[in-house]
C-alpha cells in the first residue's frame, strides 16, 4: 500500500488539477455546458480554499488540515518548498479570486465556445499560483510563475474569434517570454554568486558573498522579470492592452489574482534573504568578516520603482475614457503601493502590502467582474456610457461605487484599512521611506479624481434617453457574452459581486481580526525568511 501521507499537503493543488482534467474530459466527450464547468471550477476552488484556510490555522476547519502545523513557519532548512503562514494567506487570496471569477462566469452563455478552455486553464493557472506561494527555491519559483503565465496567455485568447483578444494574448506572450528569460538569467547570475538556487542558502550566504556586484546584477535581472508580473513601470506597457483586450472576466483574474504572484515572489526574493540578514546581522558582522548589506541598495531601487509605478499609472489613468483601460491603469498604480510595502520591508509593511493584495480581490477583481456584467446588459465600454446608471441600476451602481471608493481608499472600506496600515508602516520606518509614504498619499489624492469622476458620471449626470439594448454582442472588449434576455447579470455574477461588496464594507468596518492575522503572518515571515 502506497502511503498517501506525503502528498496530503498538496491536497489543494490536487483538487484543482483533478477538476481541470475533469473539465477537459467532459469537454472532449461532448458535455459542453458552461454552467457545469463554472460550477466545477468554483467548487474546486472553494474546496481547496477550505484546505488552505485550515492549514493557515483557522480553528473551525482544523479537521481538514493537511499540512503538519509544526511544518508551518518552521525555520528554513533548504529544499524546494516551505510552508509559511504568509504563503498560506496568499494561497487563500489566490483561491478566493479564482472562486469569484469562476462563480461570476457561471453567468456566461451556456453554449459559449471555449468555455472548457477558460475554466480548465483558470484552475491550472491557480495551481501555478499556489506553487509560487510555497516556493523555497529560485528555479521552483520561476517555473511555478511560468505555469501560471502560460495558462493565462491562453486564457486571454480563449475566445479565438475576437482579433483584439488574440492580439492581446500575443503581446502578453511575447513580453512574458522576454521577462521569463530575464528572470532565468538573473537566477543563473545569483547561482554564480552564491553557488545555490535555494532561497534558504541564499539567505545564509548573503552576508558573506565575495561577489556583491554579480549578486546585485542577478537581483536586478530577477527583479525586472518579476516587475513584469506586478506591472511595475516601465515594464507595465503590456498590461493595459491585455486587460483591455481580454474578456473582462479574464481581466478580473489577471488584475485581482495572477498579477499578485509577483508580489509574493518579491517577498521571497527580496524580504526573505534580507530579513535573514538583518536577524543574523549582528552575528555576521563579527564572524563573517566582509559583510555586504544589500538592503539599503535594493530598498532605494525598489522605492524608485514604486514611485514611478504609482505616479505614471495614476497620470495615465487620469485621461482615460475607456472604463477598462482606466481600471487597468489604476491597477498599475495600485501595484506601486504594494511595492512601497516591499521596499520598506518591515513586518507591518508586509502586512499592509498583503492586505492591499487581499483588498484587491474584492475591489479590483470585483470591479472588473461588474464591468463585465454591465457589458452584458448593454452598457458601452466608455466611462461616459455609464451616465445616469445610478438611477437605472441602483444596486449594481452602489456596489460599483463602493469598489471605486475602496480603490480610492475612503474610510470604512477595506481599501482604506490596507492603505492606512501600509502608509503608516512607511511613516514608522522613517528616513527615505517617509518619501515613499508622502508619494503614496499624494498619489492617493490624485487617484480620487478619476474614481470620483466615474461616481459623478453615474450618479450626478442626467441620463441621456436610454438607447434600446443593443442587439447582438456588444462591443466592450469585443468578446463579451450576449446581452441576457432578462436584463440582469445572472445569479452567479450577482452573487460574486454581492459577496465582494459585502466583504469591502465588513472588512472596512471590522478590520481588526484581519490586521492581526496578517500582522502575525508577516512577523513569522520576516523572522524565518521563507
Amino acid at each position: 500500500m502506497v502511503s498517501l501521507v506525503g502528498i496530503a499537503p498538496w491536497s489543494p493543488e490536487i483538487v484543482l488539477v483533478a477538476a481541470a482534467l475533469l473539465v477537459f474530459l467532459l469537454d472532449t466527450v461532448g458535455v459542453k455546458r458552461s454552467e457545469l464547468f463554472a460550477g466545477l471550477a468554483s467548487g474546486a476552488a472553494a474546496l481547496a480554499l477550505l484546505f488552505v484556510v485550515a492549514d493557515a490555522g483557522f480553528a473551525p476547519f482544523a479537521l481538514v488540515r493537511t499540512v503538519d502545523p509544526s511544518a508551518v513557519d518552521a525555520a528554513p532548512a533548504g529544499g524546494l518548498y516551505a510552508f509559511s503562514s504568509l504563503g498560506l494567506l496568499f494561497q487563500a487570496i489566490f483561491l478566493l479570486t479564482a472562486f469569484f471569477v469562476a462563480l461570476a462566469s457561471a453567468s456566461r452563455p451556456s453554449d459559449e465556445k471555449g468555455s472548457a478552455i477558460f475554466h480548465g486553464l483558470l484552475l491550472i493557472a491557480t495551481t501555478g499560483m499556489l506553487f509560487v506561494a510555497v516556493a523555497a527555491d529560485l528555479v521552483f519559483l520561476v517555473l511555478a510563475i511560468e505555469v501560471t503565465s502560460i495558462a493565462t496567455y491562453l486564457m486571454v485568447g480563449y475566445t479565438r474569434r475576437d482579433p483584439r483578444s488574440l492580439e492581446a494574448a500575443m503581446k502578453f506572450y511575447i513580453i512574458g517570454a522576454l521577462s521569463t528569460a530575464l528572470s532565468f538569467f538573473g537566477v543563473s547570475l545569483l547561482y554564480g554568486a552564491f553557488h545555490s538556487t535555494s532561497l534558504v542558502a541564499l539567505s545564509g550566504a548573503l552576508g558573506g558573498t565575495t561577489q556583491p556586484t554579480l549578486a546585485l546584477l542577478g537581483f536586478g535581472f530577477l527583479l525586472v522579470g518579476l516587475g513584469f508580473k506586478v506591472t511595475a513601470v516601465p515594464f507595465h506597457a503590456w498590461a493595459v492592452d491585455v486587460y483591455d483586450g481580454a474578456p473582462t472576466d479574464v481581466s478580473a483574474f489577471l488584475a485581482g489574482g495572477s498579477k499578485k504572484i509577483g508580489v509574493f515572489a518579491f517577498f521571497l526574493v527580496f524580504i526573505g534573504p534580507i530579513a535573514f540578514f538583518d536577524a543574523r546581522g549582528a552575528h555576521c558582522l563579527t564572524a563573517c568578516g566582509s559583510v555586504y548589506n544589500f538592503h539599503p541598495t535594493l530598498a532605494v531601487s525598489l522605492g524608485v520603482l514604486a514611485i514611478l509605478t504609482m505616479t505614471i499609472g495614476n497620470l495615465l489613468a487620469l485621461m482615460q475614457r475607456s472604463m477598462k483601460r482606466m481600471l487597468a491603469y489604476s491597477s498599475i498604480s495600485q501595484a506601486g503601493y504594494m511595492l512601497i510595502g516591499i521596499a520598506v520591508g518591515t513586518a507591518p509593511a508586509l502586512a499592509g502590502a498583503t492586505l492591499q493584495v487581499f483588498a484587491h480581490v474584492f475591489m479590483k477583481a470585483g470591479a472588473f467582474l461588474l464591468v463585465a456584467g454591465f457589458a452584458t446588459i448593454g452598457i458601452g465600454p466608455l466611462i461616459d456610457d455609464y451616465r445616469g446608471l445610478g438611477a437605472r441600476r441602483p444596486k449594481a451602481s452602489v456596489a460599483f461605487a463602493l469598489m471605486l471608493l475602496s480603490l480610492a481608499g475612503i474610510p470604512l472600506t477595506v481599501g482604506f484599512v490596507s492603505k492606512f496600515i501600509l502608509f503608516s508602516a512607511a511613516v514608522q520606518a522613517q528616513g527615505f521611506f517617509l518619501v515613499l509614504a508622502i508619494a503614496g498619499l499624494l498619489n492617493s489624492a490624485v487617484s480620487v479624481f478619476y474614481y470620483a469622476r466615474v461616481l459623478k458620471v453615474m450618479f450626478m449626470d442626467r441620463a441621456e434617453p436610454v438607447p434600446a439594448p443593443l442587439p447582438g454582442p456588444p462591443v466592450a472588449g469585443g468578446s463579451e457574452p450576449a446581452v441576457l434576455a432578462a436584463g440582469g447579470f445572472g445569479y452567479g455574477r450577482a452573487t460574486a459581486i454581492a459577496l465582494a461588496t459585502i466583504a469591502i464594507v465588513v472588512f472596512g468596518i471590522y478590520p481588526q481580526p484581519l490586521i492581526a492575522a496578517f500582522q502575525s503572518a508577516a512577523e513569522h515571515f520576516v523572522l524565518t525568511g521563507a
Binding site: 511575447i174 525586472v224 515594464f235 503590456w238 532605494v300 497620470l315 518591515t346
Partner: protein, 662 residues
C-alpha cells in the same frame, strides 16, 4: 441587596443606537408616510426607549457609585514598530464609557430629548418639512449620546463635530428665512474657531502622552479616558508644564465655542432663529452644555494646570455677568432666555474651573430642566400668540394658566429661590467658588460677578414673566386669542415643572458628592454656607421685587430719555457693540485679507494649479503616446528599463545612500 447592572452598562451603545434607528427610518421613509406626524411618533418612540435605558443606567450607576464601565471596540490598530511618532503603535477605537458623569448626562439628554420630541408633535404641527425635522433631531440625539458615552478623545471629537452639524441644520431649519440661514452659518463658523483650537489641544495631549500610562501606552490603547476604572494617565493627570497649560487653554477654547462663552458667545442668541423646541433641547439643555462636559472630562482624565483653572474661572465668571446684562433690556422672549443660558453656562464653567467638577455638572443638571421648561413655556406662548415680542404680549396669565405656572416655576428655579432646583445648584456653585477664594485671591472678582448676576437673573426673568403674563389683556390688540396648547405640549411642561422643583434634591442623595473616586478626586463642595445662601436668596427675591415694581400688573417701565443710564441701556441693546466689532473685523480685516487672498488665489495659486493641471494633462497625453500598441516597442521599454534599473541598482542607489548618510 446588590443588583448587577453590568449587563445594562454593556449595552449602553443602544442609547445612541435607538435614535439612530429613528433617524434612518424617518430620514429614508418619512416622506412616504401617509401622515407626516407619524414620523414624529417614530422619533418619540425611539427617544423614549433611549430615555428608559438611560434611566436604568443612571439607576445602576447610583446604586454602584463610582463604577466605571468601559466597553471598547478597536477599529484599527497599528502594530508597534519601535520608531516614529508612536513607537508603541496606535489604535483608533470606539467605545462606551459609563461613569457617574456620563450617566448624569445621559439622563439630562434623553429625558429632555424625549419631552421635546413629544412637545414637537404639537408645536411643529403646522410646519413643512416634518420628516427632515424629526430625522435631524434624532440624529442630534444620536450624536449627543455618542458624545456623552465616548471613551476616548477622538471619538469625543467626532461626535462633537456631529452635534455641531446637527445644530447647524436645525438652526437653519427655516432655511427660506435669510436670517435663519445666516444664523446657522454664524453658529457653525463661530463654534468652528473653538473646534479648531480644541483639535490642536487634542494633538498636544497626544504628542505629550503618546507612550504614557499603562502598557502598551496611551496611543496604542486608543487614547482612552480610563483603564480599569481609573484615569488612564493616572498620576500624570494635571501635570503642570507650559505645553500642557496651552493644551488646557485649547480645551477651554473648544468649550467656549460650544458653550457660547465670552468672546465666542455671539452665535447663541442668533441661534434662536431655529424652532423653539430646538432652542430648548440643543441650545439650552444639551449641546451647549457639551462644552462644560468637555471641561469636566478634561479635568477628570487629563487635568488642568493652575493657570488653566484661573483662565476658566475668569471666562466663566465674566460671562455670567456679561451675558446677564444683555438679557436685561431685550424684548424678544427667546433672546432673553438665550442670554440667560449663556450666563448660566458661565456658572458651570466657573465651578469646573475652580476645581469643582461635580458642582458644575450639578448646575448643568438642574439648568437643563428649568431652562428647557422656560423655553417650552415660551414656545407655548409663541404657539398661542404668534409673536416673540414681549411688549406686544401681556395678560396671557388669564388664558394660559398652566403655561403661566410652568414659566413661573422655571423662573423661580432660575432665580435661585428655595426650594426650587436652581437654588441648590447655584448655591453650591457660589459656595464652592467662595471656599477657594481664600487660597486663590484672584478668584474674588469672578465670584463677585457671579454673585451680582443672581440679582440680575431674578430681575430679567421676572421682567419677561410680568411682561408676558401679567396685566389684563395683550398690549397689542391684534394678537390672536390665546389658548392652552394640546396635551402633547402640556405634558412635557408638567413633567419639566416637576423636575424644576425636585431635581435639586439630587444633592441630598447619599454618596452624590463622592461619585467620582479615582486617582485624582476633584474637591467636592459639601458644606453649606448659610450666610451666603441667605444673601443669594435675598438678592434673588430683591430682583423679583424690582421686576414687579417696574413691570408687574401690566406696567411698562420706560427709562426716561434724560436718564444717565440711557447710554448703558443702548450699550446693552447693541450687545456691547461686539457684533459690530466682529462685523468690522470681518469686513475690514478679514475682507481685506480675503481680497488679498483672492488676488493671490486668482493669479498665483490658480495660475499654478492651471499650470499643474495643464502640465499633468500634457504629461498624460505625452505618456499615452508611449502606449503605441506595438509589441516590439514594449519589449524595447523592458530592455531600456532593465538597463536603467541596473544602473540604478549598481551606481545610483549606492551613491544616493552615501549622500543620504546611510
Amino acid at each position: 441587596m446588590t443588583v448587577s447592572f453590568d449587563g445594562v452598562f454593556a449595552v449602553a451603545y443602544l442609547v445612541p443606537l435607538f435614535p439612530a434607528i429613528a433617524f434612518v427610518v424617518v430620514g429614508l421613509f418619512g416622506t412616504r408616510l401617509r401622515r407626516l406626524e407619524w414620523g414624529g411618533w417614530v422619533a418619540v418612540f425611539f427617544s423614549g426607549l433611549a430615555m428608559v435605558l438611560s434611566l436604568v443606567i443612571a439607576l445602576g450607576e447610583g446604586l454602584n457609585p463610582g463604577k466605571f464601565t468601559d466597553q471598547t471596540y478597536t477599529w484599527l490598530s497599528l502594530p508597534h514598530s519601535g520608531t516614529g511618532a508612536f513607537p508603541g503603535g496606535f489604535s483608533l477605537v470606539m467605545g462606551t464609557l459609563v461613569d457617574p458623569i456620563s450617566a448624569l448626562m445621559l439622563v439630562v439628554v434623553n429625558v429632555v430629548g424625549f419631552l421635546v420630541m413629544l412637545y414637537s408633535i404639537g408645536y411643529m404641527h403646522h410646519d413643512k418639512g416634518l420628516p427632515r425635522y424629526y430625522a435631524e433631531l434624532s440624529l442630534f440625539l444620536t450624536a449627543m449620546n455618542g458624545l456623552v458615552l465616548s471613551d476616548n478623545l477622538l471619538e469625543f471629537f467626532l461626535f462633537w463635530e456631529l452635534v455641531g452639524v446637527c445644530s447647524y441644520f436645525l438652526i437653519g431649519f427655516y432655511y427660506e428665512k435669510p436670517s435663519a440661514a445666516s444664523a446657522a452659518k454664524e453658529a457653525f463658523l463661530v463654534t468652528r474657531i473653538g473646534d479648531v483650537l480644541f483639535l490642536l489641544g487634542i494633538f498636544i495631549y497626544f504628542a505629550v502622552y503618546a507612550t504614557a500610562g499603562a502598557a502598551p501606552g496611551w496611543a496604542a490603547s486608543g487614547f482612552l479616558f480610563t483603564s480599569n476604572g481609573h484615569p488612564f494617565l493616572g498620576t500624570l493627570v494635571g501635570t503642570n508644564t507650559p505645553l500642557l497649560t496651552v493644551a488646557g487653554l485649547m480645551m477651554l477654547a473648544g468649550a467656549a465655542g460650544k458653550s457660547a462663552q465670552f468672546p465666542l458667545h455671539v452665535w447663541l442668541p442668533d441661534a434662536m432663529e431655529g424652532p423653539t423646541t430646538v432652542s430648548a433641547l440643543i441650545h439650552a439643555a444639551t449641546m451647549v452644555a457639551a462644552g462644560v462636559y468637555l471641561l469636566a472630562v478634561t479635568s477628570l482624565f487629563l487635568g488642568f494646570t493652575p493657570a488653566d483653572q484661573l483662565a476658566i474661572v475668569a471666562i466663566g465668571g465674566f460671562t455670567t455677568l456679561f451675558a446677564a446684562t444683555m438679557a436685561l433690556v431685550h424684548r424678544d422672549i427667546k433672546r432673553v432666555i438665550a442670554y440667560s443660558t449663556i450666563s448660566q453656562l458661565g456658572y458651570m464653567v466657573l465651578a469646573v474651573g475652580a476645581g469643582f467638577t461635580m458642582v458644575g455638572l450639578f448646575h448643568l443638571w438642574t439648568h437643563a430642566f428649568f431652562k428647557a421648561l422656560l423655553f417650552l413655556a415660551a414656545g407655548s406662548v409663541i404657539h398661542a400668540v404668534g409673536t416673540q415680542d414681549l411688549f406686544r404680549m401681556g395678560g396671557l396669565g388669564r388664558k394660559m394658566r398652566l403655561t403661566t405656572i410652568a414659566f413661573a416655576v422655571g423662573g423661580l428655579s432660575l432665580a435661585g429661590i428655595p426650594p426650587f432646583a436652581g437654588f441648590w445648584s447655584k448655591d453650591d456653585v457660589l459656595g464652592s467658588v467662595l471656599s477657594q477664594t481664600a487660597s486663590h485671591p484672584l478668584y474674588w472678582p469672578f465670584f463677585l460677578c457671579a454673585l451680582i448676576t443672581v440679582f440680575l437673573t431674578a430681575y430679567y426673568i421676572f421682567r419677561a414673566f410680568f411682561l408676558a403674563f401679567s396685566g389684563a389683556a395683550p398690549r397689542d390688540a391684534s394678537l390672536p386669542e390665546a389658548h392652552e396648547p394640546p396635551w402633547v405640549m402640556r405634558l412635557p411642561l408638567v413633567v419639566l415643572s416637576g423636575l424644576a422643583i425636585v431635581a435639586g434634591l439630587l444633592v441630598f442623595i447619599p454618596g452624590f458628592p463622592n461619585l467620582l473616586p479615582g486617582a485624582n478626586v476633584p474637591p467636592t463642595y459639601g458644606t453649606a454656607d448659610l450666610f451666603l445662601s441667605g444673601l443669594s436668596t435675598a438678592l434673588g427675591v430683591g430682583g423679583i421685587g424690582v421686576a414687579y415694581s417696574l413691570w408687574g400688573n401690566g406696567r411698562v417701565f420706560a427709562l426716561p430719555e434724560s436718564s444717565p443710564f440711557q447710554p448703558v441701556r443702548r450699550l446693552w441693546l447693541r450687545l456691547y457693540f461686539m457684533k459690530d466689532a466682529y462685523d468690522w473685523i470681518g469686513l475690514r480685516g478679514v475682507y481685506t485679507i480675503a481680497r488679498a487672498a483672492d488676488f493671490v488665489d486668482r493669479y498665483v495659486i490658480d495660475g499654478t494649479i492651471h499650470g499643474v493641471e495643464r502640465t499633468f494633462a500634457e504629461l498624460s497625453r505625452r505618456l499615452r503616446k508611449i502606449q503605441t500598441g506595438v509589441v516590439s516597442d514594449y519589449a524595447a521599454y523592458v530592455v531600456a528599463g532593465l538597463a536603467a534599473f541596473l544602473l540604478l541598482l549598481i551606481f545610483v542607489a549606492p551613491w544616493f545612500l552615501h549622500a543620504w548618510g546611510v
